[in-house]
């Protein structure tokens, strides 16, 4: 049939900021789509508010709009670009919902835009639970009994008919938001109320519970000739009841006979056809009753999903890429299989390995949040592993988590089932108690299973307690048997060692079992001495039936290796960032992918090592070679060895993937591996407070007064000397892990008690906290002689809020050229003093006209993609080249960096970019069902970010807010409650809002101040004041904007109940809640821009052209002046 020639311009909709349930898998899918569509000759426009994505790099689309993903903004883009078609199935639920909304509002018809790859009726049939169930029944499938309810009463009535064991699923939400399970009348009430609130159409499906059944997924693809293939089957190790995003999953399915699998396939295909998915990918979930095989269909996603990304990486079948081709008219048999290059895509991949995915959680970031896993997704990332058997794959996945425990025998006892039981109880727990712990699905349940099995529980007992299929439990028991036999053997023989490696035991695990082997290094030395090394197999889609042309490898302890020699070009290994977590996400993948692109262009063979299936970096199309491997020292070293056997390894880049590879740099160097760019010693210099302090002293740069402590007594002495409040944190952290502002001695003592657990072998840093300072973030390049200031970002919130959670503006909006000169000078001194070769991120605080150095990180930072897009300069590409020895001067001459100037001296009229963080508070609840507090502090909590870019700050800020939280209001009611210290500063913005026509509600104290300043504020009661209070008003939808600055210390548990209730209500009501006066001032500017209706759209390419013209003008003037 071939591609369609009646359309020539396609708009791709991205998925926006990274949130729980919608992560960088949609950057992977969107990037593939853009690549494919452009290579087929279509003009591609793109809209996505997330600057950290590869897809929003200007070279991936003809016109890239970093604009809010709201119907209004998408319409503006449509009006500006006039595309023929929209492809909405690769941007997650966000894009699909936008497409539905634009269809319903008539925008698509108005501009004559066609949806491709999707059919509105099919979307609605797939999303509408009742219609979907009818379809399943029509094609002969089975579904749980259920009722669609719009009221609590209806739900209670139905629940009674199925013994009150129900699941609640709100309509039109993603990632299981608002869904939950109930096993009693009381639970039915709570869950239904929550579900109704979460659904935009106030509708929930109440279903018979299939809790504890086996759970499976199929990934299917359909083309316009109605050819259908099943790309992958996925089996959840965790049974029904745990969201699939939070479940450990395995591909292919392990416990189905062919009859059962084919029945599932038949029903899946019939459902897909009946729903009428136009073309492209689709995911269908099934549950099977293990007792009698009854199979029911749970749900489908008529689009590319998180599971499709996993399935693509698991099979080598690139679902998104092929979905894009099918959307423009190709059929599966017309698309070739990239991996074999000889066979078509109209087949079903055969796997000769096992894939395991384990989710990564961040409960430590949300104290008080309930860690029990439910149908409501809570994980923030995932790692995938590939092994030649389940045991090997499971071991690799467990050590890919980068948690403290890295597989069986490495867990401290407290890691086994993070339940509420006291540690003393766990230490002497009986089999029954251990089974009880294992029966609760939590992060770390594998370790609870380990303990139960080691304590003597049988496989059937564990299977019964957990609902996990006994085949999987037996495999875990197998690992334990292998390890215990190694532990008990009189001597470690080569056969025993080989056997242990074959079942996935790491050197570290073996070292834990055999202390006499002198640790992990000893085990490795022994292993290498007797020649036990992994081989590298290939993911080839066809179980070796055809030759694979794509070097997509994974390690296994097997016989034959498939790494092909390549000796023409030197190789560079780029270490990725592992599973996404808060503080280390897509931004680092962006830098790694850029390094790959730059180094490939520069003539190197690029080798990517990573274990995150969501990313662009683990697309086999990205680097020349891909190793899907855990980012542990052992695994990376074996990849290096394999590549050294294959050719010449120029070195390894550790500075672009965040803390994960950075932590490996020194050990790799010690093992003789060339580390490129900034050396481990320099990294250590910057990380080590004492040494870094000496660098600053030598350079004459001030830092906040500080000290280090390894005990409470020492910490108290430091704090007493430098004065409270102090900022305390462990050394060597990313994302402000464990960081708190402490206002008094009591809280300091409490912090130290907790902190010893966080970093036993690293001291705690105690810094004077600078109240009211302006925080400045800098990304720069240094080559040993020249500094290139990439960008200077001014935080909108004051110091004390983690930089990752703080909004910031670039170019800085209030800093003068003298300050920037000061920043440039300080950055250069730090870069030289530390010995940076590549990227450097420095955080400064400007207080009372003194520029304090807060910290320096000699690596790619979270802001690199933001800065690169705001200034049109590819910083990560430049950093990769510097790491290989190219100077900044040479990069300027080559054109990769601007000929003159840098990101610190942007022209005055340069576009302003605002970055805003996106926070996941609505995802977490306490065990009692309350929302966790949404207050910001020095510990990072955001999962993602958005960018607003425009000519002036107000508009850019308004866009950033619209992208993150939905639009700022241009009229309505503002509620104001301000801490005493902020009252003076708040008067101006509140008065301005009042003058703009907003009605002002305020708590008594705030209202008094406002009235004295001519603001007609209405007093409203606090939450503690009882009926009619502000929380009720917010929940009733009477308030459009909240300004609430917290009282006292954010890290404290003082009398902050009122503030907590207000912020929680804001999260529930989905209205913007500003927690700093600075943010309020910025919001006022944004609201003014909205009222003046100045908010238009402009592509990044157009912004960059404007910037280039301004820079050229500036440079010409400079040259003129020099002459």
């Amino acid at each position: 049939m071939g591609k369609r020639t009646d359309i020539s311009h396609i708009l791709v909709i991205g998925s926006g900021p990274i949130v729980i349930g919608q992560a960088c898998e949609f950057d992977y899918s969107g990037t593939q789509a853009c690549r494919v569509l452009r290579s087929e000759g279509y003009r591609v426009s793109l809209i996505n508010s997330n600057p950290a994505t590869i897809m929003t790099d200007p070279e991936f689309a003809d016109a890239t709009y970093i604009e809010p993903l709201t119907p209004a903004f998408v319409e503006k883009v449509i009006a500006a670009e006039r595309p023929d078609a929209i492809l909405p199935t690769l941007g997650g639920q966000t894009a699909l919902n936008l497409a539905v909304s634009l269809h319903e509002s008539g925008v698509l018809a108005k501009y004559g835009v066609e949806l491709i790859g999707a059919d509105i009726d099919a979307i609605q049939r797939g999303e509408d639970r009742q219609k979907f169930k009818d379809i399943v029944r029509t094609v002969g499938g089975d579904v749980p009994s259920s009722a669609v309810c719009h009221t609590l009463e209806d739900a209670l009535e139905f629940a009674a008919t199925v013994g009150n064991k129900i699941v609640v699923r709100p309509s039109f939400t993603m990632g299981g938001l608002g869904s939950g399970m109930a096993n009693s009348v009381d639970e039915v009430r709570t869950q239904v109320a929550r579900g109704l609130a979460a659904s935009p159409v106030h509708e929930v499906l109440v279903e018979e519970s299939v809790f504890g059944w086996k759970e499976f997924e199929l990934e299917l693809m359909r083309d316009r000739k109605d050819n259908v293939v099943v790309v992958c089957s996925i089996e959840n190790v965790d049974p029904m009841g745990v969201h699939t995003g939070d479940s450990i999953t395995v591909a292919p399915a392990m416990t189905l006979t062919d009859r059962e699998y084919q029945h599932m396939r038949d029903i899946g295909i019939a459902v897909l056809r009946e729903v009428g998915v136009d073309t492209g990918g689709c995911n269908i979930q099934f549950a099977i009753n293990p007792a009698d095989g009854r199979m029911i269909v749970i749900e489908m996603n008529p689009r590319v999903s998180r599971s499709s990304a996993l399935a693509s990486k698991a099979t080598g079948f690139p679902i998104a890429k092929i979905a894009a081709k099918l959307a423009v008219g190709f059929t599966l048999d017309e698309v070739s299989n990239d991996i074999t290059q000889a066979t078509p895509a109209s087949f079903e991949p055969a796997l000769d390995y096992v894939v395991v995915k384990i989710p990564r959680f961040a409960f430590e970031k949300f104290p008080g949040a309930d860690p029990v896993l439910t149908t409501h997704m809570k994980s923030v990332g995932e790692a995938m592993s590939i092994g030649r058997n389940f045991t090997e794959a499971l071991g690799k996945a467990m050590r890919s988590m980068e948690t403290k425990e890295a597989g069986f025998w490495t867990a401290s006892q407290s890691a086994a089932g993070r339940s509420n039981q006291s540690s003393t109880a766990r230490d002497f727990a009986s089999v029954d108690e251990l089974l009880g712990i294992a029966s609760v699905p939590t992060d770390g349940r594998l370790y609870a299973i380990e303990r139960a099995l080691l304590a003597g529980a049988t496989i059937d007992q564990v299977a019964d307690a957990t609902g996990i299929d006994p085949w999987f439990i037996d495999q875990m028991a197998l690992i334990l048997e292998v390890g215990e036999s190694l532990r008990e053997a009189p001597a470690v023989t080569p056969d025993l060692l080989r056997h242990a490696k074959r079942h996935g035991l790491s050197d570290r695990q073996i070292a834990a079992l055999r202390p006499e082997l002198a640790g992990e290094d000893g085990v490795r030395a022994l292993r290498h001495r007797i020649g036990i090394r992994p081989v590298f197999k290939t993911v080839d889609t066809c179980a070796a039936e055809f030759e694979a042309k794509t070097p997509y490898h994974y390690s296994s302890y097997d016989s034959e290796t498939e790494v092909v020699a390549q000796r023409e070009r030197p190789k560079v290994l780029i270490l990725g960032s592992g599973p996404n977590r808060i503080g280390q996400g897509i931004e680092f993948d962006y830098s790694c992918v850029h390094a790959v692109m730059a180094l490939r262009d520069a003539g190197y063979e690029t080798v990517m090592v990573n274990c995150n299936p969501e990313t662009v970096s683990t697309d086999y199309d990205t680097a020349d070679r891909l190793y899907f491997e855990p980012l542990t020292f052992e695994d990376v070293l074996e990849v290096v060895h394999a590549e050294q056997q294959s050719g010449t390894v120029a070195g390894v880049i550790c500075t672009l993937g965040g803390q994960t590879p950075l932590g490996l740099a020194q050990r790799l160097k010690d093992a003789g591996v060339p580390v490129l760019g900034t050396q481990p010693e320099a990294i250590d210099l910057a990380e080590h407070r004492g040494a870094f302090g000496r660098v600053l002293d030598a350079a004459g740069l001030p830092a906040p007064k500080h000290g280090m402590a390894t005990s409470f007594a020492e910490a108290k002495a430091v704090a007493d000397t430098i004065g409270y409040p102090v900022l305390v944190r462990p050394s060597y952290v990313l994302g402000g892990r464990g960081m708190e502002i402490v206002y008094d001695e009591t809280n300091l003592a409490a912090y130290i008690e907790k902190a010893t657990d966080i970093a036993a072998d690293h001291p705690v840093l105690v810094d004077r906290f600078l109240d009211d300072a302006v925080e400045i973030d800098v990304d720069a390049l240094y080559d040993g002689t020249e500094l290139y200031l990439g960008g200077v970002m001014e935080h909108i919130e004051e110091a004390g809020i983690h930089s990752g959670d703080s909004a910031c503006a670039l170019p800085p909006i209030t800093l003068g050229s003298a300050t920037i000169a000061q920043v440039r000078e300080a950055t250069e001194k730090i870069a030289a003093g530390v010995g940076v070769l590549g990227l450097l991120n420095v955080q400064y605080a400007l207080g009372s006209d003194i520029l304090y150095v807060l910290e320096a990180n000699p690596r790619a930072s979270r802001t690199v993609p933001f800065v690169s897009k705001a200034t049109a300069v590819p910083l990560a590409k430049a950093a990769a080249r510097i790491a290989l020895g190219t100077s900044i001067a040479e990069l300027r001459a080559e054109g990769l960096l601007p000929r003159y100037g840098d990101g610190g001296d942007l022209p005055a009229d340069a576009p302003i970019a605002v970055k805003e963080a996106v926070l996941p508070f609505h995802r977490f609840r306490t065990p009692a069902g309350d929302q966790v507090d949404s207050i910001l502090g020095p510990e990072m909590k955001s999962t993602g970010e958005v960018m607003g870019i425009d000519r002036v700050f107000g508009t850019a800020f308004a866009k950033s807010q619209a992208a993150a939280y939905g639009s700022l209001p241009s009229q309505g009611v503002v509620f104001v409650s301000i801490a005493n210290r902020d009252k003076r500063a708040a008067i101006f913005p509140v008065k301005r809002l009042h003058d703009l026509g907003f009605r002002i509600l305020a708590t008594a104290g705030t209202a008094q101040v406002m009235r004295r300043n001519g603001v007609d504020a209405e007093v409203v009661g606090k939450f503690s004041d009882g009926p009619g209070n502000i929380v009720e008003r917010i929940l009733a939808g009477d308030v459009d904007l909240i300004l609430n600055t917290p009282f006292g210390s954010p890290g404290n548990s003082g009398p902050r109940v009122d503030g907590y209730e207000i912020r929680t209500a804001a999260v529930q009501a989905g209205i913007p809640c500003l927690t700093t006066v600075q943010a309020a001032a910025a919001a006022v500017q944004g609201i003014e821009a909205l009222i003046r209706d100045e908010v238009g759209v402009r592509s990044l390419q157009a912004h960059h052209e404007i910037l280039a013209a301004l820079v050229a003008e500036r440079d010409a003037a400079q040259l003129e002046a020099d002459r």
Binding site: V229, Q262, P344, S346, F347, P349, A350, I459, R502, A543
Partner: protein
């Protein structure tokens, strides 16, 4: 060259290929010594069906999926009364069976049926070797662990080319599989190695199947009074099956409606005058894309064939029985996967529309067969299609 297997925990076993390639592993199933043609199967489900498929007679099957035996063995899924593979090669046999229908473990079943197997070796390396060098003779032994001695025995074992095996797997007595529900037609199925699912698929469509031994003559077939003839799948080299081919030619002369599968496709092909040849390593799996050239649609199909029909793809061929076209083709390698005669009521496919194991995409072929019978019935009411030669 000797490839080391992983650490062995059970009794040692050895696999030697006729080119000398050797793999060490451990005993899986029965101990002993066995010979056959080494072939690989890429199906990720359906080992019970594979083991009991008579087409695998005299073959040593390598499963590329590493975990085999997870769902045990049940009383419903076998495709014949016994395991036919000559030997079984897997990487990681299940220790624990988990399926509500399972009645016993695969290991126990292999032991009970005296099937010699080997596990714990690099099955992917073996598969890649077979892919590059082609399917070849092979031995597995737990008795003679001496490579040279076993290799000598392998070289003395009979090759697959030239092997006439239908009689070894075929039923000796005819039997009838009744239609499910209303009886519409009767079909005589020639058992070259038929699978249980095939008559079942016909029965679902109101067809009563009379299964006849592979040696059945045209007269014996006619004597059944069936409306049509089905040519089953089966093991061996079709070029040796001259007698069988002659029978089919006779049926064609009588314009008997014929539907053939796998070996049946090859026999029909030979009867129509085409040649057959051995593929390097064959098609064995349940993920093969086959295009129905009449509709352009692609079906994902189950395959198990080491031989193929040699027929031109570009245009119909004039044969003694009129024009014959290649109706189906495998998109992976353009191998002929189906034939359709224009002037006589005969068609066949090289793959397995009855699946078991495998996807059901091609089940429509049984509908086509039933439709063909329906048309014939209305065209010639009361006349047997096995009547006079035309």
């Amino acid at each position: 060259m000797v490839s080391m297997g992983a650490a062995r925990q059970g009794a040692p076993a050895i696999l030697v290929l006729e080119d000398g390639q050797t793999f060490l592993g451990e005993q899986f199933g029965a101990g002993g010594e066995t010979f056959g043609e080494a072939v690989f199967n890429t199906g990720m489900t359906g080992y019970q069906e594979t083991l009991t498929d008579p087409s695998y007679h005299r073959q040593i099957v390598v499963q590329t999926a590493p975990h085999i035996g997870n769902t045990g063995v049940n009383d419903e899924d076998a495709e014949s009364g016994r395991i036919w593979v000559a030997g079984y090669v897997v990487r990681d046999p299940a220790r624990r069976v988990s399926n509500w229908r399972a009645t016993r473990s695969l290991t126990d079943e292999l032991v009970a049926q005296q099937i010699v197997g080997i596990s714990g070796l690099d099955t992917r390396a073996l598969t890649r070797h077979l892919r590059e060098r082609g399917a070849m003779r092979c031995a597995i032994s737990t008795q003679d662990l001496d490579r040279e001695s076993l290799l000598a025995k392998v070289l003395e074992s009979p090759p697959m080319v030239g092997a006439d095996l239908s009689a070894e797997v075929s039923t000796r007595e005819s039997y009838t599989v009744p239609a499910i529900g209303e009886h519409r037609f009767t079909v005589a199925a020639i058992d070259y190695g038929i699978k249980t699912m095939t008559p079942h698929r016909m029965a679902e469509r109101g067809i009563t199947t009379i299964v006849l031994p592979s040696t059945a003559s045209a007269a014996e077939i006619a004597a059944t009074g069936a409306d049509a003839v089905f040519l089953a799948n089966g093991p061996g080299d079709p070029s040796t099956a001259d007698a069988t081919t002659a029978v089919v030619r006779e049926l064609l002369e009588r314009s008997t409606p014929i539907f053939g599968i796998c070996f049946g496709n090859q026999i029909l092909g030979r009867a129509l005058g085409f040649g057959t040849y051995k593929l390097r390593y064959g098609h064995r799996g349940i993920n093969q894309p086959v295009q129905d050239r009449s509709t352009g649609k692609v079906e994902v199909t189950a395959h198990n064939h080491g031989f193929a029909v040699d027929a031109p793809l570009d245009a119909p061929t004039e044969t003694a029985f009129g024009a014959v076209e290649v109706s189906h083709v495998c998109l992976n390698d353009n191998v002929v996967e189906g034939l359709r005669a224009h002037d006589v009521p005969a068609f066949s496919v090289q793959y397995h529309p009855e699946a078991a194991a495998g996807p059901h995409d091609a089940a429509y072929l049984f509908d086509r067969f039933a439709e063909l019978l329906g048309e014939r019935a209305s065209f010639a009411t009361g006349m047997s299609n096995l009547g006079e030669p035309r």
